[in-house]
């Protein structure tokens, strides 16, 4: 059982969280976005082995946030609220 630090609620069990995707995956708007760019946004993932910067949601409080963690050791490196920025 991993402990994740919700920036609002403090450390909580992993089962309270849901993975939201790569941080910094900016959505391109428009019906005329080049299809490769759209597919890139929609499907391609960095999926790093090691340090990852990800969007998570703490389901019990509903807040999305950015967490950095190691995908091999499962060590959590940092977590921070989205801070009003869009598509962090």
């Amino acid at each position: 059982m991993q402990l994740f630090p919700c920036p609002f609620c403090g450390p909580r069990d992993e089962t309270e969280f849901h993975y939201g995707g790569d941080a910094g995956n900016i959505r391109p708007d428009g019906a005329d976005v080049p299809i490769d760019r759209w597919a890139d946004y929609l499907y391609l993932r960095t999926n790093p082995k090691g340090t990852a910067r990800e969007i998570w949601v703490h389901m019990t409080c509903g807040e999305f946030f950015v967490m950095e963690r190691d995908t091999v050791s499962h060590k959590v490196l940092s977590s921070a609220a989205l801070g009003g920025e869009h598509a962090a």
């Binding site: 059982m1 991993q2 402990l3 992993e14 849901h18 939201g20 959505r27 391109p28 708007d29 428009g30 019906a31 976005v33 299809i35 759209w38 929609l42 969007i55 949601v57 389901m59 509903g62 807040e63 999305f64 050791s73 499962h74 989205l82 009003g84 869009h86 598509a87 962090a88």
Partner: protein, 961 residues
């Protein structure tokens, strides 16, 4: 062997409480405090089971969790197959049977297999049974599988407890190292939890001599335990730490001996001290698997704890000092003891009355169902009724390995020891390679100091005689004569390891998988190291070059029920319930689960449900129907940017909606697929209610939150899920308005004031109600939302008023018929995970909208623009035929090959139309109305004609009638 119970002694047993139990049908006598194994030994039962493959006779080897041989099935209420006899307390009346033996361990009818052993070496099955085919052989081989038997009459003793626990320090193991570490940590002000797999603390001190701080070991143990307990620290006996998981969460298996299921503990300590001890290894010699050959340390434990003398004429074979105490104690207890030490020099002196033979090893043992003698490597024969072995000690570093700790090979100790430290974990005592009590205590002091404690007290001091660490490794050697067992339970011998090496299975993981070495229920606690050392010898590598296999949880088998805990039955996956469930039950509702909600399928009880459903659907069209639609989503979207927000979330433009009005629309996923449909209500300029489908409420809410926080920001929009706050009661049918008028809700029901797709606000019994003219039946309908806790009187009054109109209460099944008659879809039933909005005939926003919305770009891919997409259609059958089976496919032939061209998604007999109605997704269906196609279901073919989806009142005037 002629084992026996001594007249006196035995620290663990209570001679005032004799017990009796049965083993393989025979009665065994013992005392409270006996394990099944100690009682069997006391009764001189030599053969306790059969090995997995060759059905060799197996006797008790050890006295603890490492036991590879003595597995029994325990029957009765608490039946557990494959129970280790060495750790299971003997109980009065217990019924135990040997495993893998028919009819008994002593007379197993499959024992003949051993005679064919040379033809069935490791992994032989990969090389044969291919002709004519494996299927011909498998049933007979499969029948041989397994050890114990599942008891068909077993009944659950109740759900297992699960406990979450926090502490500063978790000490695993209450032997000298663990007790010392726990005491030091406690004295330093830390909260301590001390666990041990045995019923009594003390570990090896329970049967080995020791003097600590000038006191006998037993006194020191009692004093330490009392000090910990009185200071409020938690001590859990009979509790095994079976796994270290992510972020150093430790799983504990706590056993109870009062009928309760085991308890699962999830412990989150700040620091972990592993004081898990060490396990004695066998020595390699021919026939070293015979019953009557035991671990020397186990024999000492049985002697001192249970007063069981394991033999009369005993040979003790060793390569280290630890067996000398055993030899001496057995001689003192009256046995004739010959101690055969592999070492020529540097050995301790022979204990009193023990004949010491130095510089010799065992070459072989003899005997059939029990050992009757040994031959030394110089040819000397010694007769014996029991042979005790000490091949050295393997530190129990499983948990350290599970925590990804690296191991370091120690040539001096002939063992892997913990290597580089792991964050938050200290290893002490024999698990860290310590041999003497002085070493153990010094290590405990250092370990506790390393936990960051400044005021650590001084560790205890050993004041008795000290063990020495001298050992001469004695690994199995390639080319050895005879059959030398390495893994007793799985029947892996030296020759099997040699075969694996010969065939290039030299990686330690290949060795394990090819030979099954270490894969038995004991997980190789006695066999892994000898096996890989042999592989090192065969391949000319060092032991650390061969390495170990991965340590995996659990350390010892854990009951499955422990992991399930209370998640049994409905608690395994709770259903959501309606506020009026009890009212519906008293009305004869038959409930079913729909999308996680328990809802009335129909009323009128279980008898003739098809007729009940048809009646409900027919009568709903005739006058008026009442329906509990409380599951309908009610998610409020509030704020300055609420209109822009719903525009982005919906496929349809929603910002043009006027306050007080509703609009039907789709929500798409970013891949363009229709995710949900429903009605959006605009309460006022900055306030909307998302009325999503029942089964999607949580998911829609999550999506709204995600987009709100990601794209709009916290200040722009606020979202509140009010679904369970309010009940929604629906009145539908030609007389719906008339019925509603009888309630005096304080608002005008005039169509000019409350037209279709508008909302009104009223008051019922002092509570606000929201009334929406929204229809899922195609008839005039009113959805009345009211505080959930005030819904019951409203429902009662609706029913009472309904009597005037012959109103009918309908369940979900009738509603499904009504909406299907109209061609109204249910997302996930009439659509699948590829359905785009234009497949459902809603192309406007796709072609016309200029503003951004979720999923937009995906509506213009190559796939989305394909001209043969599956589209929503109605389907009719030739007159007089039964409804199409839902799930039947439209078929066609391309180049002679059968192909699907879509499928039936909804299909019902319409009681109003007097004929079947159906919906489907059919290739290019929108352009094929009137075409008749072949439909296939479970091999049978029928016809259906493609139509528009709406079969009932296509003009739609009943909405206003």
């Amino acid at each position: 062997m002629t084992a026996s119970r001594l007249a006196t002694g035995g620290s663990a047993i209570d001679r005032s409480h004799p017990i009796r139990f049965s083993f393989d049908g025979a009665t065994v006598h013992g005392f409270a405090g006996d394990t099944i194994a100690s009682a069997l030994l006391a009764g001189d039962v030599a053969v306790v089971g059969r090995s997995f493959k060759y059905h060799r006779p197996r006797g008790i080897w050890g006295a603890g969790v490492e036991e590879p041989n003595a597995l029994v099935d325990i029957g009765g209420l608490r039946a557990t197959p494959n129970t280790r006899a060495t750790t299971e307390p003997a109980r009065d009346g217990l019924v135990a049977r040997s495993v893998n033996a028919t009819p008994s361990a002593l007379a197993d009818r499959n024992a003949f297999l051993d005679r064919f052993a040379r033809f069935i070496p490791a992994a032989f099955y990969y090389k044969t049974f291919m002709w004519p085919e494996w299927h011909r052989f498998e049933p007979r081989i499969r029948a041989m599988a397994g050890l114990g038997k599942v008891d068909a009459d077993w009944a659950s003793p109740g759900t297992a407890d699960q406990v979450n626990h926090h502490c500063d320090v978790l000490v695993v193991g209450a032997g000298p190292a663990g007790l010392a570490a726990a005491r030091l940590a406690a004295d330093a002000g830390l909260s301590v939890t001390l666990v041990d797999d045995q019923q009594n603390p003390g570990g090896s001190l329970g049967h080995r001599a020791g003097e600590i701080d000038g006191k006998p070991a037993a006194a020191w143990i009692a004093e330490t335990v009392a000090a910990l307990a009185s200071a409020g620290h938690l001590i859990l006996p009979s509790t095994t730490a079976f796994g270290i998981y992510d972020h150093n969460l430790v799983g504990l298996n706590q056993r109870h001996f009062d009928g309760r299921p085991d308890t699962l503990w999830r412990v989150r300590p700040r620091r972990i001290v592993l004081a898990t001890g060490a396990i004695e290894r066998p020595l390699p010699f021919a026939n070293n698997d015979l019953p009557g050959i035991l671990s020397a340390d186990a024999a000492l434990a049985y002697l001192r704890r249970h007063a069981v003398l394991v033999g009369r004429r005993i040979v003790v074979a060793t390569n280290n000092d630890s067996a000398y105490e055993t030899a001496g104690a057995l001689a003192e207890a009256g046995a004739e003891v010959r101690l055969v030490d592999l070492r020529r020099d540097g050995t301790p002196n022979a204990p009193a009355n023990v004949r010491l033979i130095k510089g010799r090893a065992l070459a072989s043992a003899s005997g059939k169902l029990r050992v009757d003698g040994v031959t030394l490597d110089d040819g000397t024969k010694l007769d014996a009724d029991c042979v005790l072995i000490s091949g050295g000690w393997t530190p129990t570093i499983h948990l350290f390995g599970q925590a990804k700790g690296k191991l370091a090979w120690s040539e001096a100790r002939a063992a892997f020891l913990p290597g580089d430290p792991v964050d938050g974990i200290a290893v002490v005592g024999a698990a860290a390679g310590a041999v003497s009590l002085s070493e153990v205590f010094a290590g405990a002091g250092t370990a506790v100091a390393s936990l960051g404690q400044t005021k650590a007290a001084l560790p205890p001091r050993s004041t008795g005689p000290e063990a020495t660490g001298g050992i001469t490794a004695a690994w199995p050697l390639p080319g050895s004569k005879g059959r030398i067992w390495i893994d007793y339970q799985n029947d892996v011998t030296v020759k099997d390891v040699e075969l694996a090496a010969r065939e290039n299975f030299v990686s330690v993981e290949h060795l394990k998988r090819y030979t099954t070495l270490g894969m038995a229920t004991d997980q190789g606690k006695t066999s892994n190291l000898p096996g890989l050392a042999l592989m090192a010898g065969i391949t000319g590598r060092t032991v650390p070059e061969v390495g170990t296999t991965t340590y995996r949880p659990p350390f010892t088998p854990v009951p499955l029920a422990s992991f399930a805990g209370a998640r049994v039955g409905e608690l395994m996956a709770p259903v959501r319930r309606l506020p009026l469930e009890n009212v519906h039950r008293s009305s004869g509702a038959v409930f079913q689960e729909y999308g996680g909600w328990l809802r009335p399928a129909h009323y009128g009880g279980n008898a003739d449900s098809e007729r009940s459903i048809a009646d409900e659907a027919r009568r709903a069209r005739q006058s008026v129907a009442l329906f509990d639609g409380s599951t309908l989503g009610k998610i409020e979207v509030i704020g300055l940017q609420a209109a822009a927000f719903v525009d982005f979330l919906y496929y349809n433009t929603m910002s043009t909606l006027k306050p007080g009005r509703c609009r039907y629309g789709f929500m798409l996923s970013e891949n363009g697929v229709v995710f949900d449909d429903g009605v959006l209500v605009r309460l006022d300029e900055q306030r909307f209610v998302v009325s999503c489908s029942s089964s999607h409420v949580a998911a829609v809410h999550a999506r709204l939150e995600e987009w709100r926080q990601d794209r709009f920001g916290h200040g722009a929009v606020y979202i509140h899920n009010a679904t369970s706050d309010m009940a929604t009661l629906t009145v539908s049918g030609p007389n719906a308005r008339k019925l509603l008028e009888m309630l005096e809700l304080g608002l005008s029901l005039d169509d000019a004031d409350l037209p279709h797709m508008a909302i009104g606000h009223g008051i019922y019994a002092g509570d606000e109600v929201r009334i929406a003219r929204v229809s899922f039946t195609g008839d005039r309908s009113y959805e009345i939302s009211i505080r959930a806790d005030r819904a019951e009187p409203l429902w009662a009054q609706l029913r009472q008023a309904g009597q005037t109109f012959d109103a009918v209460v309908i369940g979900l099944e009738a509603l499904m018929i009504l909406r299907a008659e109209k061609g109204f879809i249910v997302i996930g039933k009439d659509t699948d995970g590829t359905t785009l909005p234009h497949d459902l005939g809603v192309d406007g926003p796709r072609t016309k909208r200029q503003t951004e919305f979720v999923g937009r770009r995906s509506l213009f891919t190559e796939e989305a623009s394909r001209d043969n997409r599956m589209q929503l259609v109605g389907l009719t059958v030739p007159q007089g035929e039964a409804p199409l089976p839902t799930g039947a496919h439209g078929i066609k032939r391309i180049d002679g090959r059968l192909r699907s061209q879509g499928f039936v998604t909804s299909s019902y007999q319409s009681p109003t139309l007097g004929r079947p109605v159906a919906l489907g997704l059919i290739e290019r269906g929108a352009a094929r109305h009137g075409e008749t196609i072949d439909i296939q279901h479970l091999g049978k073919i029928s016809k259906a004609t493609i139509t528009a989806p709406c079969a009932f009142n296509p003009a739609g005037d009943r909405l206003h009638a």
